[in-house]
């Protein structure tokens, strides 16, 4: 096997697995902060318990995120040494800032949330919940800024020996490409958080327990979820696509499965791309819509894949399917949230068991949509690692053989299986205990001596 292929496989696996946990932390942090602040301002005991309950689940996500994040922090060096040596001047900056500004903020104040409830003032406790939220979202920003630079490099100058040197950190961090991508990623994370809440609430109501909490989770989850599901599409998703259209037109063609340049380009709702015959198999088209979506004009000419050399194409099938899975799920989420808010206003939501089932079963799908979105972004960026500047094949470590990478990939598979199983066990156990259980215990660790005594 080509060593760069092995490196890509390993990176894809480790980053996709890692990203499952930031979805949970970034998506749940604002809800936790909301409940902690509400409990502080109004003395609402249910809000207080809801915050404690989700903080425990947050902490499981956080620990799994740290553990699977350590390889990410070093993998640029281990498997992508030429890339790191050439671009470290630029992308080292946001990565260092993430370490110093975001990680500590999140971990130190999570310590207070977990173990400090009876030790610090309610005001400091509330501030800690906000700090944890801020930390997790800052972390997301620095990572997205790094990725956005690889998609659309700005603020750099070419240095000696093919290195890329920083010219302006402000240009890197304030790049509009980065900000729209960031807002898209964050609204998608909130949507995931909202669906975790509604899924859990639905489960409790179906199970006929934790009624008060279940109704709260459903109410806030549906309202926030509706806003987020709309914001994921417009303006954030729309602006993101506009940037892709402008700066990465080949990626756009692959996402849409558009093989030939067309005026009045049709939007493919479904269909399977056939790269040999350069057409979609069994497609359903909506005429002229793609031209409109890409350029705001039904007559616009959209360039197809055949307008570019094959060596410039990303892997078409993966990009196409990931994009369609993301967009399809995004549309379903809007419908689900609309229906949920309608039932909520009508007052029949909590009795509509069929709809609670739908919410319960929907819980894993924001994860699928989030991951699919990243696949579009990263696979669609190929064959470049830094768009237009460095090819992925020139970026992998030449001193690490494919065999070594495959060996460690197998190791990661085993290790991550354990982490995944543990994560599910702990999360489901907390959900099993429920927000009104675990009386008086303010953290997993404070709870365990009692267990040991028992």
């Amino acid at each position: 096997m080509d060593f760069a292929v092995a490196d890509r496989l390993q990176f894809a696996f480790t980053i996709m697995f890692h990203y499952l946990f930031p979805i949970g932390t970034m998506g749940l942090a604002p809800f936790i902060a909301w409940w902690v602040v509400k409990a502080w301002r109004t003395g609402d005991a249910h809000a207080d318990r809801a915050a404690m309950f989700w903080t425990k689940i947050f902490s499981v996500n956080f620990a799994a995120g740290v553990v699977t994040g350590i390889p990410m922090e070093f993998q640029f060096g281990t498997n992508w040494a030429p890339f790191s040596a050439k671009t470290g001047s630029v992308i080292g900056q946001p990565l260092a800032m993430e370490g110093v500004y975001a990680f500590f903020l999140e971990s130190v104040f999570l310590g207070i949330l977990l173990a400090g409830r009876r030790r610090v003032s309610p005001a400091l406790y509330a501030a800690s919940a906000i700090a944890v939220w801020l930390g997790s979202w800052l972390s997301g920003f620095f990572i997205v800024a790094t990725d956005a630079w690889m998609q659309h490099p700005v603020g750099y100058a070419l240095g000696p020996h093919g290195t890329i040197e920083l010219k302006s950190l402000a240009a890197v961090l304030l790049s509009p490409f980065a900000w729209w991508q960031y807002l898209h990623v964050m609204t998608a994370a909130i949507l995931a958080g909202a669906l975790i809440l509604t899924g859990t609430g639905a489960w409790y109501l179906l199970d006929r327990r934790e009624g008060e909490y279940a109704r709260r989770f459903l109410r806030i989850g549906l309202i926030v979820g509706l806003v987020a599901s709309l914001a994921v599409i417009f303006p954030t998703g729309d602006r993101n696509s506009a940037d892709v259209t402008k700066y990465q037109p080949v990626k756009l063609a692959a996402m849409e499965g558009l093989f030939h340049s067309e005026q009045h380009a049709a939007l493919a709702i479904i269909g399977m791309p056939d790269t040999r015959h350069q057409e979609l198999i069994d497609p359903i088209f909506v005429p002229s819509i793609l031209s409109y979506l890409a350029y705001g004009n039904f007559d616009a000419n959209v360039k197809g894949l055949s307008a570019y050399a094959r060596t410039e194409w990303p892997p078409v099938e993966l990009t196409y399917y990931a994009y369609h899975v993301m967009v399809g799920l995004g549309t379903i989420f809007v419908a689900l949230m609309l229906l949920g808010v309608f039932l909520l206003r009508q007052g029949s939501l909590f009795r509509a068991r069929w709809f609670l089932w739908a919410l319960l079963l929907a819980t894993p799908f924001p994860y699928v949509a989030n991951e699919a979105g990243w696949v579009v972004t990263e696979v669609g960026r190929q064959p470049w690692i830094v768009y237009g500047l460095i090819r992925t094949t020139d970026a992998a470590s030449t001193n690490v053989a494919a065999g070594e990478t495959i060996f460690t990939l197998i190791g990661f598979l085993g290790m991550y299986f354990l982490i995944g199983a543990l994560f599910l066990l702990l999360t489901l156990r907390e959900i099993g205990i429920g927000p009104s259980g675990g009386h008086g215990a303010s953290s997993t660790y404070e709870a365990s001596p009692a267990e040991a005594d028992a």
Partner: protein, 337 residues
């Protein structure tokens, strides 16, 4: 500027060793100082809330090394691919083991994961020790600064000696932490174990120091400070640690042990400067900070940002520790039978 960068990286790695060092140490010594499942549970709980936060120092140091010395980041981690992956796996595995033992109460289950936790932590210390030993001794490098040796090369007697010193040092560090955080018989056993360990630690330190003079003559370039002052300060820190253990002042003993660790790492960093990777055999150069740094503009941009960020971290961390401190003692007392 690049000297400042070198100091920042060294300081962050030192913070990593000081913080994750005590939880690695507690894990390694837990089988020695605990007799019952309950005592072991208390030992594990004392580090339960902290280990993942401590590992943040390592992750943050990785990001900072990437920004300040991208070439060294690329060379070191791709060069030491396999050992480095072993470190990553052990870091993950011990986290998994600790969480698994904490969340389920079956005895056999706990015995297994406790053993796994202690063993993986011990191995990690050995690997970190081997790494530091090789960084000081130097490794075969090609013209670009990439490692060209084998795994077997890294397991040389000097590096293994440093590993043994690392195990003993962090064992003491963990014992001091235990004395500070738990009470009852395990705390007393930790005290006695530390006193018994102390002569071995002094002897190992002296042996490794003498061996360092032999394998890395660069240390003589540091003059009196390198040859006399640092060892005297390190031994003084050890002496203070012993005195505080005898007086039963756990916090001070922990600080003494921390000072000793800091001296060891300062000595290692001073020996290496201005190299980030020393070549083997000694005296054949290596990868210098100037060869590994990015453009002057990049360095001038990020260093103030990192320093300001670390200052903010120190401010809020010390604030949080003060707020949390008083009552941690209460909850520790509340735990006694």
């Amino acid at each position: 500027m690049s000297l400042l960068g070198f100091i920042v990286v060294a300081a962050m790695l030192t913070m990593y060793v000081l913080t994750d060092g005590y939880d690695l140490g507690v894990a390694s010594v837990a089988p020695l100082v605990t007799r019952s499942g309950r005592e072991r549970a208390a030992a594990m709980e004392s580090i339960g809330p902290f280990w993942s936060g401590n590992e943040v120092w390592l992750v943050a140091a990785g990001g900072v090394l990437f920004a300040l010395f991208p070439k060294a980041y690329a060379c070191a981690f791709s060069g030491f691919y396999l050992p480095f992956m072993l470190v990553l796996w052990l870091l993950m595995f011990r986290g998994i083991a600790l969480e698994l033992r904490n969340h389920f109460t079956n005895d056999i289950w706990r015995d297994f994961w406790d053993a796994a936790f202690s063993l993986s932590s011990l191995l990690l210390i050995v690997l970190f020790g081997v790494a530091i030993g090789n960084l000081i001794r130097g490794v075969p490098l090609d013209a670009d600064g990439y490692f060209t040796g084998t795994f077997a090369f890294l397991l040389n007697p000097y590096a293994l000696g440093v590993a043994l010193l690392a195990v003993t040092t962090l064992a003491q560090h963990g014992l001091m932490f235990l004395m500070m955080r738990i009470d009852g018989p395990p705390a007393e056993r930790a005290r006695r174990t530390a006193l018994r360990l102390w002569p071995a630690l002094v002897a190992l330190y002296l042996l490794v120091t003498i061996a360092t003079f032999a394998v890395q003559p660069r240390i003589f370039d540091r003059g009196i400070a390198g040859i006399v002052l640092v060892p005297i300060l390190a031994l003084a820190a050890l002496a203070i640690t012993r005195r505080e253990i005898l007086h039963g002042r756990a916090l001070r003993a922990f600080l003494g042990s921390s000072a000793f660790i800091a001296m060891l790492l300062i000595a290692a960093a001073a020996t290496m400067y201005p190299y980030l990777l020393l070549a083997y055999p000694a005296g054949t150069g290596g990868l210098t900070i100037d060869a590994a740094k990015p453009s002057a503009l990049a360095l001038a941009t990020i260093i103030p940002i990192i320093l300001a960020g670390l200052l903010i971290v120190v401010v809020y961390t010390s604030f949080v520790v003060r707020r949390m401190e008083g009552k941690i003692v209460l909850s520790v007392e509340g735990r006694s039978p």
